[in-house]
Symmetry: C2
Subunit: 167 residues, 2 copies
């Protein structure tokens, strides 16, 4: 089967990570994939922040999830997607970039999962400049990234009858 | 380079199509890719309608774009993504499925482009049962699909300084 199709079909969300950090080369490829995503009117209103600093990761977890919890499953890398405030394609562009990153990560032997905790929380999502979010940008999604600590989850069951052909 | 990365980097939006129809096998793979997309809480609130009937395609164009115009660039296949009305992940799930389809299409030698005309138009988007949209679903995006009539567009220029590393 086509390599891309195979990768699309075998990708899974990963929620358990090794402590081993993602190599710079792989991280750069994942982020490059994000920047190549389709987006509305080619505005590319996005910024991608790769957070790997252990103290800041812990501090962010404390802020978002609370003591002793991790909203990104203690992944060694957290990629924060932020979009210029007010952009009307914010949600779609975010999801396109996230999908590209998840596919790239899987193809490079990494695991990832989309974590929805910061976005939509206005107490937090626009006040993260110390974490590398530019002024005027709002966090719209985050991606936990690292090496899976467990084998890939089994093939998932999917809904049936989700496709109609009109010929 | 990794085949998936290569495909992500070389994908382009295609806005000019041959009359040649997409083979059933390829169409099924593109739609299968859609169903494998990440989605919020694994609700899979989506439906995918592959419209290839020439009369219905023409009728839809007349309804949406008006006489003599084509909002999907006269592609031989139009895939309509619809989501259960009221689902809170509608926009993100749609974009994830669209991205998977665009990647799959490119990897299979097809061209595609995201067309935003039906969604957000409440005069139209919930009244398309004759086009294969289930009752209670709302069209959130459409994908023009076919063989490109021109060579792939050149490498695009992208915004710079869209990535920050915090280590």
């Amino acid at each position: 089967m086509n390599e891309v199709m195979k990768s699309i079909i075998t990708r899974r969300s990963i929620r358990s990570f090794q402590k081993k950090q993602v190599e710079n080369e792989k991280l750069e490829l994942v982020l490059h994939a994000a920047t190549q995503a389709p987006n509305g009117m080619r505005q590319e209103p996005w910024h991608f922040t790769a957070l790997q600093n252990p103290e800041l990761l812990k501090k962010l977890d404390l802020l978002v999830a609370g003591e002793g919890k991790s909203f990104f499953y203690h992944a060694p890398t957290l990629i924060l997607v932020s979009i210029e405030q007010g952009n009307r394609f914010a949600q779609a562009d975010t999801a396109c970039a996230m999908t590209n990153m998840m596919q790239a990560a899987h193809a490079l032997g990494l695991g990832s999962v989309w974590c929805n905790r910061i976005n939509g929380n206005n107490e937090i999502d626009t006040k993260l400049t110390e974490y590398g979010i530019p002024q005027g940008f709002q966090v719209t999604a985050t991606l936990a990234l690292g090496y899976a600590a467990e084998p890939l989850p089994e093939k998932l069951e999917h809904k049936v009858n989700t496709i109609t052909y009109v010929r």
